[in-house]
Symmetry: C2
Subunit: 236 residues, 2 copies
C-alpha cells in the first residue's frame, strides 16, 4: 500500500488590468518541451504544520510573505494523480515514490498593484488571467476554478471584502468594475446603482473626481460601523 502524501497549494487571486488573475509559478524541469506553470505548492515536511508549509512555499517560490492565507478546501480525489507525467515529474523532483496526494488548498485575494512587481529573483512567478489559463498539472485548473467560486461566495455573503480591496475613496464605476471583474460578468448599471443606493454602509462623500475628461464622478466610502449593524450578533 502506498500511503497518501500531503501537500499544500496556494491560490492567490487579484485584479490586474481589469482581469481576475491567479499567481502561477514555472514548473522546474517540466516534462514537456515548453515552460509550464503550476500553483505555488509543495509536499509538507515531516514535522511541518500545514499553515507553515503554505507560507513557506509561497515565500520560497514567489517571495511573497505579507498576505493572509486561508485554508479553503482539501482536494483528495485519488484521480488527482492519474496523469503519469505529473507523477513522474513529482517523483523526480521529490525523490519519493508517489501514490496519491491529498492537498490542502489555501486562498487569498490580494492587491496586485502592490505586489505586481515581483522581485526579479522570482521572475518565474506570473499573474495569469483565470480565463486564459493553460492546462495546468494535476488538478490545478480545478483548484483555481474552485477558488474563484469560493472567493465569489465569500464576497456574496461578506461584501466588505470588495470594499477593503478598493481604495478608501472610490467611484461607483470603480466599485461596479471591481464586481464585474471578480464575478466575470456585466452588471446592469441602473440596477447596480439602485442596489448600492439602498445600502446604508456605502456613503457618498462631498469629494468629486478632479481633472477627468468626462463628467466628474462622486467618491463614495465604505462605513464599517454601519456595515456591522447588519449582524444580529453584534450589539452595535
Amino acid at each position: 500500500m502506498l500511503y497518501p502524501h500531503v501537500s499544500v497549494d496556494c491560490v492567490l487571486l487579484g485584479v490586474n488590468e481589469e482581469k481576475l488573475c491567479v499567481l502561477l509559478v514555472e514548473r522546474a524541469d517540466s516534462p514537456g518541451d515548453q515552460i509550464d506553470y503550476k500553483l505555488p505548492g509543495s509536499l509538507i515536511y515531516e514535522n511541518e504544520d500545514l499553515d507553515d508549509a503554505a507560507y513557506r512555499v509561497l515565500k520560497e517560490s514567489t517571495g511573497i510573505s505579507k498576505v493572509q492565507l486561508k485554508q479553503f478546501r482539501c482536494f483528495g480525489s485519488p484521480s488527482r494523480t492519474q496523469n503519469k507525467e505529473d507523477v513522474l515529474w513529482l517523483e523526480n523532483a521529490s525523490k519519493l515514490k508517489i501514490g496519491r496526494i491529498v492537498t490542502v488548498a489555501y486562498l487569498a485575494l490580494c492587491k496586485i498593484s502592490k505586489r505586481k512587481n515581483l522581485s526579479p529573483k522570482y521572475k518565474s512567478a506570473q499573474w495569469v488571467p483565470v480565463n486564459e489559463l493553460p492546462k495546468l498539472p494535476f488538478d490545478h485548473n480545478e483548484i483555481v476554478a474552485a477558488a474563484t467560486s469560493e472567493i465569489r461566495q465569500w464576497i456574496e455573503i461578506e461584501p466588505s471584502i470588495v470594499f477593503e480591496y478598493l481604495p478608501s475613496r472610490f467611484t461607483l464605476y470603480e466599485l461596479r468594475r471591481t464586481y464585474e471583474t471578480i464575478f466575470g460578468k456585466a452588471f446592469d448599471i441602473r440596477n447596480f446603482h439602485k442596489k448600492i443606493a439602498s445600502l446604508a454602509y456605502v456613503v457618498p462623500t462631498n469629494e468629486m473626481q478632479e481633472g477627468v475628461a468626462h463628467r466628474a464622478a462622486r467618491y463614495y466610502r465604505f462605513d464599517r460601523a454601519i456595515y456591522k449593524k447588519r449582524s444580529i450578533v453584534n450589539k452595535k
Copy 2:
C-alpha cells in the same frame, strides 16, 4: 520517514434541550478503564475520496446519512499524535504503523429533534453538550472548539442558517434562545428585539401562540426573498 496518514472527522452540532451539543461515538477498545468518546472519524481508504470517507464513517458509526457535511478545516499539526496512548490505540485498531495524521474535518448543523433517537444499533453514539465534554483523544477537543467557532462565524455572516434551523413559524423568544444557545451567551432582550425589528426579512405574521399560560406571543417568519436583497450580486 513515516508518511502522514490522512483521516476524516465529522463534527455534527445541534441544539438539544437548550444546549449546543456535538455527536460523539464510543471508542471501541479504548485504552483506559472507562468508556471514552471520540468524533466519528476514520482513516481514508486507499482509493476513497475525502467526502465519501466522511459520509461513510458517519453512516457506519451513527447510522446518519441525511445530513450535508461541509469541509471546514484540515488539522495537520504534527503534535496531533503526541499522546502515545492514542497512537497505540489507533495502531491496534488499524493494524498500521502511525506516525502523523492529517485529518480533514467536516461540519454540519443538524436538527436533533429528528435524529435524537439514534437507531439502537448505534447506541454508542451520543449527543454531548459542547460545554461538558470529557477529555477526547487526539485533538478532538480542539476540533470541536474550532467547529463551534466556525458555525458561529457562518451564522454571523449568514443568519439564514438559524432561520432554516427554526420551524417555519417562530416566536422572538425561540429565535433569541436559539441564538443564545448556539453562541453560548445571553443577549440583551431589548437590544435583540430592536435588532430583529430592523431586519426586513424577519416578518411578523398574524398568528399568535395558542393555549399558553403566559401572554401569547406573536409568530414570525423568515422571508428568503427579502433576505436575498441584501446581496449586491443578486439582481432581485
